[in-house]
């Protein structure tokens, strides 16, 4: 670990800490300890395509409903064609009113989430107020942009960001491409290798004015479909009782649904698939 990260062992706070400056943690880190930035960590160490050598997370789905937004991710992480982890976590709280999930390389993804969490908290403490939800979404863009060089070498991270907008009083979803461009999504969105199937399912399952419970069920159905057709997405693991991580963000803040609750809803989904393996049928007109 470099000396900058730990200046206090040898005395006073460095002058740069006492100089007024940016309220962005990532900016401060890039001046004080650039080696700690996820985008710099692997610089020079990487050559060629690493996508088959490192852990990859897969499908993240988010759905808005009148009271807020729900985000969930399957639990599988793959390394090439091996299932590397069955209980991976890919959905995290970003701060009290937002959550972030990611598909792509696990290592850089987890580091980016940590940096993003610290970024939001740092701003909140320095400025005494929280960033607007658009401000948070834009900060995440900035962090992904710094990761572009690694994305080119197969260490791409594609996040999905969602939160409760206090001023507009509704949940909002933002998606990103590997270059960091951010797009606001309406109603629902999915990222990752199983996202095509999940999004297809949600197109048929989503309807306006869903309850929180129905939103969670529709997401579990969508993830089931993703796992059904995409080898890198994990379905509900009934023998091990491992189920998707489900985060709910409302005006009351972030909360992760207890595994027992998710397990019950997942059981319902699986049971319904026993009679109709392709899931609920949507009316034709």
């Amino acid at each position: 670990m470099n000396a900058v990260a730990n200046p206090i062992e040898h005395g006073r706070l460095p002058a740069s800490y006492l100089t007024p400056g940016s309220s962005s943690f990532a900016d401060f880190l890039s001046q004080q300890a650039p080696d700690l930035l996820p985008s710099r960590r692997h610089r020079g160490a990487v050559s060629g395509d690493l996508s088959g050598e490192v852990l990859h997370g897969t499908t993240i789905v988010a759905v808005t409903y009148p009271g807020g937004v729900v985000m969930a991710g399957d639990r599988r992480a793959t390394m090439g064609n091996v299932i590397a982890q069955r209980d991976a976590e890919k959905v995290y709280p970003a701060d009290e009113y937002s959550c972030v999930g990611f598909a792509g390389s696990s290592g850089p993804g987890v580091e980016m989430v940590r940096l993003f969490q610290t970024e939001l908290e740092h701003y909140e403490k320095i400025e005494g107020t929280t960033l607007s939800i658009d401000g948070k979404a834009n900060r995440l863009s900035g962090l992904i942009r710094g990761n572009l060089a690694m994305a080119m070498q197969g260490l791409a991270v594609v996040p999905l960001f969602a939160g409760y907008d206090m001023t507009r009083e509704r949940g909002r979803i933002f998606s990103y491409d590997v270059a960091g461009a951010s797009y606001e999504e309406t109603a629902f969105h999915a990222v990752g290798s199983g996202s095509v199937f999940a999004r297809g399912a949600l197109k048929k399952l989503y309807h306006e004015g869903m309850s929180e419970r129905d939103s969670v069920s529709s997401i579990l159905q969508a993830l089931y479909d993703a796992a059904d057709d995409d080898s890198a997405t994990g379905g509900p693991d009934l023998p091990r009782r491992i189920f998707p991580i489900v985060a709910v963000v409302t005006a009351d803040g972030y909360r992760r649904l207890p595994d027992a609750d998710v397990g019950q809803l997942a059981d319902d989904v699986v049971n319904s698939r026993m009679s109709r393996p392709d899931g609920p049928a949507a009316p034709l007109y």
């Binding site: 005395g11 006073r12 706070l13 800490y17 007024p20 009290e96 403490k125 107020t129 009351d252």
Partner: protein, 274 residues
């Protein structure tokens, strides 16, 4: 021919200490008190946004008296240090002792170096433990000395009078509303003639052990602070300040700051963020 101007080191340090003490004694006091659920900070501060009490990290908070620009600089440096440590190691590795040390070194070096004017500040750094016995409260003075405090501590203008009042009135394991009211009373006993402080003149924050989130710091302001002061105790006879307090206490009237109305809608979870 001029005689070289000589000042003895003792005199030099004494002058610098007098200078710092004078600056600090002009400000109002800040209290830190242990209570049933954690550590409470109470300050006399009519400003809504220029805080004397702030969050440094999950379980660590900061309070200061003295020159605003100086303690604000120290606060930001503390947040930066805490966040960079927590990010490069782990959240559990950010400690109140580490931060208090960094502040002590910084204040001490500045105080004894000839090049910089001493900081006119005093600080509290408090870390919430798992129980009352493991709470840590550090008090740092302008020259970098550190004291480890228990139960309660006072710094600022009339620290002695306020501490005297607390010595005879403080009890262990008070409830939140009792400890805040005691703090307000103590701050009012800073001179011969006791004053009564209204909630509008107070800045209150706690490190709350009962909070389920990892970040234990919580500001108490607006209606939530007013609610800690029962109506019958609000005095109506102390002039302008008193009448303001009565207005806040009665349900329909709006206080001058207009603070009560918007934050009444505020959900409980937002309390850490303002």
């Amino acid at each position: 021919m001029t005689v070289p101007f000589y000042v003895s080191p003792e005199q030099l340090m004494k002058d610098r200490a007098d200078f710092a003490r004078k600056g600090i004694s002009r400000g109002r006091s800040v209290l830190v008190l242990q209570y049933a659920d954690g550590v409470a900070f109470v300050a006399e501060n009519p400003h809504r946004t220029l805080h004397k009490i702030s969050e440094l990290y999950d379980r660590v908070a900061f309070a200061a008296v003295g020159r605003y620009n100086e303690y604000e600089n120290l606060r930001i440096a503390g947040v930066r240090l805490a966040d960079i440590r927590g990010y490069s190691y782990d959240r559990a590795d950010v400690t109140g002792r580490g931060l208090a040390n960094a502040y002590a070194q910084t204040l001490g070096t500045i105080f004894s170096s000839g090049g910089e004017k001493p900081y006119e500040v005093e600080l509290f750094v408090a870390e919430l433990g798992d129980s009352e016995e493991t709470d840590q409260i550090y008090r740092l003075t302008y020259d970098g000395s550190v004291a480890d405090e228990h139960r309660f501590a006072v710094m600022g203008g009339s620290a002695e009078q306020v501490a005297d009042y607390l010595r005879s009135n403080y009890e262990d394991a008070l409830s939140l509303s009792d400890v805040v009211r005691l703090g307000a009373d103590a701050l009012g006993h800073d001179s011969q003639q006791a004053r009564t402080l209204t909630p509008l003149e107070l800045e209150v924050a706690v490190l709350d052990r009962s909070r389920s989130q990892p970040r234990k710091f919580r500001r108490i302001s607006g209606p939530r602070l007013t609610a800690l002061f029962p109506e019958e105790e609000t005095p109506a006879d102390t002039g302008a300040a008193g009448s303001e307090a009565t207005a806040t206490g009665s349900s329909g009237a709006e206080p001058t700051g207009g603070e009560a109305t918007p934050s009444a809608e505020e959900p409980p979870a937002s309390e850490s963020s303002d």
